[in-house]
Amino acid sequence: MATSPEQSSSGADGSSAAREPILSVRDLRVGFRTRSGVVPAVDGVDLDLYAGEVLAIVGESGSGKSAMSMSLVGLNRGPRTMISGTAHFRGIELISASERQLRSVRGKHIAVVFQDALAALNPLHRIGKQVAEMITLHQKVSGRRAKDMAVQMLGDVGISNPRHNAEAYPHQFSGGMRQRAMTAIALANDPTVLIADEPTTALDVTIQAQILDLLKSLQRELGTAVVIVTHDLGVVADIADRVAVMYSGRIVEIGTTEQVLYAPKHPYTRGLLASTPGVTGPIPASLPTIPGSPPMGAERPDGCSFAPRCAFVLRECATTPILASHDPSDSGHQDACWLGELTIPVPDESRSTL
């Protein structure tokens, strides 16, 4: 358990302190049953999402970032998945909600965009029909009207000649166009929340730039709150208002993009930033590295799971540090590290090499 709801609802900055989060996650735990026991993927996450913000969940493979976001919309339920905790959204508790309740939320109030658009789209149905279906599923409109709305939506996401392209099948689209089509389906019912799981990871960088610009302009126009799940810190810098850094199933640092990317506190965030080779800045003879590799779920150590790779490890690290603000000003910038808890200053070498 990290912070109490009272503490963490203070949000990212002064402006959100007065506001209620639209989505409030408490002590979310996700585990996968395997032959060798339960593998914990998400290990007690507390998170608030505010209306109209872009929140990035950043982490490496196995950090639990996708398991966390998918369990909010019930997309990883199954006999092998154990999910506990709460996620309150518009008076519904999403974790315990029935599949029927979830269906009324998913696609209407909370929409999802996946990394692999080809797998997410139905290969047998025309693109326009798939958008129209999502509209008629949640809105009382005629088939004809839904089709017109679908064409309009395809135009809005930047598909040229939308009336013509609405008749195309997914395989006739390029990767970038498929991602646009999936975005059109996701935004068809003007959702309050859009969850985008690595939406640009499979795309080339020039197409990624198009999709990021599209997401930003749609988000601004429609006021949709976006949760973007990514491993790419450049994407975070480009699009996010706030960032939560996940490591080994837990949030280890959260704050505004500026706080987390340009004044990181947690040794993992610092290491991650320092080891990312950028297209600007000095070029060190060798990149700063984090020794070892992220722990697999089953072999997660007790206490702070970053401790085995951490250069600043203390005796206290055998006990799990809580996610808390270590600023006297309580700006909403929180991290889960004993260094902050014990007010031990961290040498700044990892940042200076950037």
Binding site: Q208, G234, A240, S275, G278, A285, S286, L287
Partner: protein
């Protein structure tokens, strides 16, 4: 400057054609100097992987020659090629897909040494143990199978295998793309150490310009099967010459060193990559280029040297602002959109 040294490997008029119609690599001329790391960059379908494989003759060329250390390897027999391969090795993107799951990693690393240098099993295994230490693993791991290792460790094994026959030249195809950032940096450093210490010559294929900037000494940009720009690393990142290179570099979402650093204006290319089976006439980039004129629609620009060691395939490169100004007069519309990158300091609405 690298280009003044005699090349270890050179390709001339190299083309690779698939199915008789799709030219994946089109008449590439390329020289790689001893000891340098030349990055091949570009987006999916540009032909960079095909070119990398063709340089090692893992892909049959439909035209052109490849000369390695003074020998024309494009006409070598199978036996001759096997000998040449001792000096020319490949590191693949997906270490798991390229390592035989049933064999011990010692045997996997020893294999090319036995194949190409005819070394005995015992000697090859001894060398494999040395190499495991060399790439940051432990000799005692030699009996383990690939599935017992993490992604980063598997890539180290792939590198050890490539080094087994003491090659002079390595093609590394997206060797760190499948790795997490914290592990990627370790493998980038390993490749850097090895190339420096063993004086290895490397062609490094990557779509990630951040990684390229930390690995390469020179950069070659490909678009639709052709090389459109070659430059020394620092010159390239200081300011690309070709409009496609400019768009490619500006599209990388920038993680700045500090919030005050100015980010270059993003050039968002309109449209999609044309069908490689039917590339546009004239300059292949003309359908997406901001500076294209009638000349670009009809006349194919040659890859020409504009300053020493710097080649560009463009009628209106960035260093010719006057030419671009003239070109601008000919255009009726601006086919690119300039978008300022939003500041991460923007407040929560």
């Amino acid at each position: 400057m690298n280009t003044r040294r005699p090349p270890l490997l050179s390709a001339s008029g190299l083309s690779v054609t698939y199915g008789g119609s799709v030219t994946a690599v089109c008449e590439v001329d390329l020289e790689v100097a001893e000891g340098e790391t030349l990055a091949l960059v570009g987006e999916s379908g540009c032909g960079k992987s095909t070119l990398g494989r063709a340089l090692l003759r893992l892909e049959p060329a439909s035209a052109g020659t490849i000369t390695f250390a003074g020998t024309d390897i494009s006409r070598l027999s199978r036996a001759g090629l096997r000998l040449a391969r001792a000096d020319m090795q490949m590191v693949f993107q997906d270490p798991m897909g390229s390592l035989n799951p049933r064999r011990s990693i010692g045997a996997i690393i020893a294999e090319p040494l036995r194949q190409t240098r005819g070394v005995s099993v015992a000697d090859a295994l001894r060398r494999a143990r040395e190499l495991l230490e060399r790439v940051g693993l432990s000799a005692s791991m030699a009996d383990r199978r690939p599935h017992e290792f993490s992604g980063g460790q598997r890539q180290r094994i792939g590198i050890a295998r490539a080094l087994a026959s003491s090659p002079r030249f390595i093609v590394a195809d997206e060797p760190v793309s499948a790795l997490d950032v914290s592990v990627q940096a370790q493998v980038i450093n390993l490749l850097g150490d090895l190339t420096r210490q063993e004086n290895l010559t490397m062609v490094f294929i990557s779509h990630d310009l951040g990684v390229v900037r930390h690995v390469a000494t020179r950069v070659a940009v490909m678009y639709l099967g052709q090389i459109v720009e070659i430059a020394d690393r620092d010159d390239f990142f200081a300011g690309p010459e070709h409009p496609y290179s400019e768009a490619l570099l500006s599209a990388v979402p920038a993680l700045r060193g500090d919030p005050s650093e100015v980010v270059r204006e993003r050039i968002v290319l309109r449209g999609e990559l044309p069908n490689p089976a039917a590339p546009p006439a004239g300059c292949r980039f003309n359908t997406r280029c901001a500076y294209a004129t009638d000349l670009c629609l009809t006349e194919t620009p040659a890859l020409r040297e504009i300053t020493e060691g710097r080649m560009v395939r463009c009628h209106f490169p960035a260093s010719d602002p006057d030419g671009r100004a003239v070109a601008a007069v000919d255009r009726d519309e601006d086919p690119i959109e300039h978008t300022a990158i939003s500041s991460p300091t923007k407040e929560i609405a």
